[in-house]
Symmetry: C2
Subunit: 359 residues, 2 copies
């Protein structure tokens, strides 16, 4: 559930470059949904947070009968030049291998999507080398540059990544009931920690975790790498395109575009872990209204995630100490949001079953 | 996840009356499952509790490839004589109305089961009057007697209720991958609080909640009612059949039988809220091995639930401040357990995708 953002100007300079128009929440639909809930065949409030979730989604979708279907996870993949600094437990080639695994249906996200009746879309936003995977092609470039040596990408590419994300929604998810933000990319928890530090002003040490399972020595190197990258590129925290340019990634920019384009269409957006969270922070800097359309998923093991959720006003929906990415937490959460919507729309009313409330 | 119970004798006197034989967990299957997880195409441990869940279910089902399917919620309904003491916000007739609503597919449990691909079975264990609902008929009697005036039922009926629960599994759920314990019955949070107080020795005030949404005055009356019932019937905490006889209900006895019969067949049992929790406590007193086959679902708003879960060694799987019953929390949890099992069995291995772990 999103809360109002803190007086950030929705019409930022970056937004004049991107051109996003997000409608306000439909409070009348929320009230209608709440009214329906009070008459359902159950004690008032006994479905707890499921009731709040359904009313929130009703306000996003501007209907008292919200639905998550068809639900889709967009898993965007790209490579990161900063991986050359040795910040991950895995070599860069794993990104391509994982894109191929998702395309072949063998990744965690495929199984969790299948178990929760969610479609899975995998997108190449710029993995290194020549991928043979059957992924959607929205490539910006052959991986980003190493942010320790200078900006990860050009401002033009930062804008192009966001535009590509918007196009992914227009081309492949315009009719979705709910979209989950997934990603893959060796090095992208490093980029996400850098973005979170740049936008929130929190110390790098606080927002840097163990990613794919690195040891203490590697984490120390990761922190040092992020600090050097921020010093080398000096991202302007007032300018989200500049932050994305300096320390971002193509899949992160793509997710910014997915979130903005979904919100424009009143499609609720389920934020996954710490990379999706960094994208959501950037999207909020472009148009603060986007937070109205964001929903929490799981509580990630990455320390930046809690900081991101607090900044975005989001509550996690499940907590299984997961830290995998790909959109796995979002897919699990969509299962819960579906239950909330279906129980809201399908239950009989007390009137229908002939029970009086006050006796 | 269940932990070992505290040295309760699995071969209780009550068990010699009931005759339950529950097999031990298959630790070899658990180890095989863990071994598989370490080779899956993801960072080790990155699926967090989903991995523990899958390994636990593997040990229950004695297979390294566990599944929740076909999953079923058995919603057992009965009436309670103690409802005449004014302990609920609803009149007794609501039990029959809700049985009809579930049978017609209009209850919360129907929608949440449908959203989570879970079958729903509704069973009349003894609602008052002549129900017209299309429910399975395992009736013991026309509601229980008022426990304030004496035992709620005879020892013979207590045994018959448990036997009926065992038959429900044999007749309708013998091939289930997972069974969730659901219930309906005006007055049954009163019976459950009394059972929990009798078995755990906790004060009635600590285990008594607001049920269907009663006010403070009604809750005070509910506490007084339970204390009078315990004083009038003096249940023997060492004898679960006596506790069921004195302050139980037919649907609660039925759930005891469902849990025992499922555990005998290595079918994992998802405990729902405070009524299912009371049944699980009784089942444990009959055969402590049953706890090996119990899984948590949600964290109910009823205060006895946390006490029950601690006694049973169970962790809730979701927490949405729900207090509805019917099996709704169990149905939500089954969706999560399905994700855990499917990601475990369907993911590719690192070998298959050609990634080395240690480089």
């Amino acid at each position: 559930m999103s809360e109002d953002a803190d007086g950030i100007d929705g019409d930022s300079d970056a937004n004049s470059e991107i051109g996003v128009e997000i409608p306000p929440l439909d409070e009348a639909a929320r009230e209608q949904a709440r009214g329906r809930q009070d008459g359902l065949a159950k004690p008032p409030g006994s479905l707890g947070r499921l009731e709040t979730m359904a009313a929130e989604i009703a306000a996003m979708q501007a209907t008292p009968e919200p639905t998550v279907d068809p639900a889709v996870i967009t898993t965007l993949a790209a490579d990161h030049g900063v991986a050359r600094e040795g910040v991950s437990a895995y070599p860069q080639a794993v990104t391509t291998a994982m894109v191929e695994t998702v395309a072949d249906g063998g990744a965690a996200i495929n199984a969790i999507c299948a178990a929760n009746d969610v479609d899975s879309i995998v997108v190449d936003m710029g993995v290194a080398g020549e991928p043979e995977a059957d992924a959607l092609d929205y490539r910006i470039d052959d991986g980003t540059a190493n942010m320790v040596e200078g900006p990860a990408m050009s401002r033009r590419d930062a804008r192009a990544a966001i535009t590509a994300g918007q196009e992914i929604v227009a081309d492949h998810a315009a009719d979705a009931g709910m979209i989950g933000l997934g990603e893959m990319g060796i090095g992208n928890t490093t980029a996400s920690a850098a973005i979170t530090a740049a936008l929130t002003g929190r110390p790098v040490d606080e927002v840097t975790g163990y990613g794919t399972g690195i040891d203490e020595e590697t984490r120390a190197r990761k922190i040092d790498t992020i600090e050097r990258a921020l010093a080398a590129t000096e991202p302007d925290p007032e300018d989200p395109l500049d932050v994305l340019r300096c320390v971002g990634g193509f899949e992160i920019g793509g997710l910014v575009g997915v979130a903005l384009a979904a919100a424009e269409r009143r499609i609720p957006v389920v934020v996954d872990g710490v990379i999706a969270g960094a994208a959501a922070l950037l999207a909020r800097e472009i148009d603060s209204q986007v937070t109205d359309y964001l929903l929490g998923s799981h509580a990630s093991t990455e320390p930046a995630h809690e900081i991101q959720l607090a900044a975005l006003g989001l509550m996690p929906c499940v907590d299984y100490e997961m830290g995998l990415g790909e959109g796995t937490g979002a897919a699990l959460a969509i299962g819960v949001y579906r239950s909330a919507c279906r129980v809201h729309t399908e239950m009989a009313t007390l009137d229908e079953i002939g029970v009086e409330l006050d006796e």
